[in-house]
Amino acid sequence: MLELQHISFAAADGDTNKEILDDVSLTVSERFVAITGPNGSGKSTLAKIIAGILTPTEGKILFNGEDITGLSVTERARKGISYAFQQPVRFKGLTVKDLVSLAAGRHITVSEACNYLSEVGLCARDYIDREVNASLSGGELKRIEIATVLARGTELSVFDEPEAGIDLWSFQNLISVFEKMHARTQGSILIISHQERILNIADKIVVIAGGKVSKVGTKEEVLPGLLAGRICPALEN
């Protein structure tokens, strides 16, 4: 179980500090927890704080009761936290198989690597030896990113807008990827998403707006207000 207590984050913005997250508290213990909210509201920042890529200016992070606020990215990964980037990283020279092997944390056979790729809808034979470089399309890269988190199969997996760039046809498959993954890991899956179909499978939805938690609840409690309020939140500011 993941617990965020009073997390704030400020980034230097010129001479001043820009408050990006302001006193965010939430727990993730359910099967699927979705975070949603307007662009720029701080969702990815929160995901990076969970993974250890960013250090909060204030607050504490507990994982299974242990304070992990001071732990490095590597240490958190080894404790069972995985993070699929919103914008996956490209590597010159590393192949898809290399990356999936590194994710699995051991040498894996070609057929094992292929299984993970097939699960995310990539015809494995065509991809296994490709370099994870600029020649991959955005959607392909995104699927490979998801496959690295599948290969880890940790207790907590954070996906940052996994559906972005994924074609409509594959959408239902993406949801079943999460369901299968949960069946295997019995852990929690935290999904940052703007997509109603993904919010629909969530046991809990957290809405972040302007760096604060503006609403938490089941989809029945949160979704109606969210859709009604969609008229044009951007124009309010």
Partner: protein
């Protein structure tokens, strides 16, 4: 043993394998075995210089020649001249490599001068690997010079790798391409400690429709230094591309000096150069997979140079 060292072992293991086909093994300046085949003839040079002539006949199709050089003595210096005569239409794989193991205090040095006379429409793949080791304080020096002359429609692909242990190297490559000839060069260099590596490539695209693609990838670690001079001259309708992509670490220093000379309005020449440290987000991504920062660095370098 780290990942990088494992990769190195693969490098030398290749060098120590007993070769099939034609070969000439040179050890501390002496011939240590030679075999010619019906299509590939290896002979001592006719002039006073040390080295061999290799004659590859038109009938050669998909055969290989291995010409490894091994030096295990300290304070040993040699310059060797090997000339390859590849007849029209031949198709051959040439594997050269130099391994120096210098346990002494003095310098060991190998300068290999390889000249390729490649006939019309012939195809050559030339693989060159340089490796050195030793536990003394002696320096290992290798200065390979490659002179490539491609006749009409010939193609030469050169893969040159220097991964570890060579303290000082100046790698000089000259090429002249006739009409429709094609040259592909892939260079990989890793330097560390106080090593110095200089690459000096100069390609003349003389004939109509000649093409060259020269790519150098390198990693400079610790306080090593690297210099790259890549020059392409387009003397007619031709296309040339050169690229220098370097990862710099610690206190290393990399200089890349590209030159393109177009002597014809139909010459299409491109150069790309990038020098920079390992991208922080690459390290972070691998760390989220459970690797330490150092393991992540090793994997990124290994991938980059493989």
């Amino acid at each position: 043993m780290d990942e990088l060292e494992k990769m190195l072992l693969v490098q030398i293991a290749d060098l120590h394998k007993v070769p099939d086909g034609a070969y000439n093994i040179r050890k501390n300046g002496e011939a240590d075995g030679r075999r010619s085949t019906p299509h590939i003839r290896i002979e001592q040079r006719k002039d006073k210089k040390s080295g061999i002539d290799i004659f590859i006949s038109s009938e050669t199709q998909g055969e290989s020649v291995h010409i490894p050089v091994v030096i295990t003595e300290t304070d040993y210096r040699e310059t060797v001249y090997n000339d390859f005569y590849v007849e029209d239409g031949a198709d051959v794989l040439i594997i050269a490599g130099c391994g120096i193991h210098n346990c002494g205090q003095a310098t060991s040095e190998h300068s290999g001068v390889h000249t390729f006379h490649v006939g019309k429409n012939a195809k050559v793949k030339y693989v060159e690997k340089h490796y050195a080791s030793g536990d003394g304080n002696g320096e290992n020096v290798m200065n390979p010079t490659t002179d490539i002359r491609l006749a009409e429609g010939a193609r030469l692909e050169m893969e040159t790798t220097q991964i570890k242990g060579v303290d000082s190297t100046v790698r000089t490559t000259r090429a002249q391409l006739a009409a429709g000839a094609e040259l592909v060069i892939r260079e990989k260099i890793y330097t560390h400690g106080k090593q110095f590596a200089k690459t000096d490539f100069s390609v003349a695209l003389d004939g109509e429709g000649a093409g060259a693609d020269v790519v150098s990838r390198s990693v400079a670690a610790q306080s090593s230094r690297q210099e790259f001079y890549l020059r392409i001259d387009g003397n007619g309708k031709c296309h040339g591309h050169s690229e220098c992509d370097a990862i710099i670490m610690d206190d290393a220093n990399v200089v890349a000096i590209p030159a393109l000379a177009a002597n014809s309005v139909d010459a299409e020449l491109i150069h790309e150069a990038a020098i920079g440290k390992i991208a922080g987000e690459q390290l972070l991504k691998l760390m989220t997979l459970g690797l330490t920062e150092q393991e992540a660095e090793e994997q990124i370098i290994k991938g980059f140079l493989s």
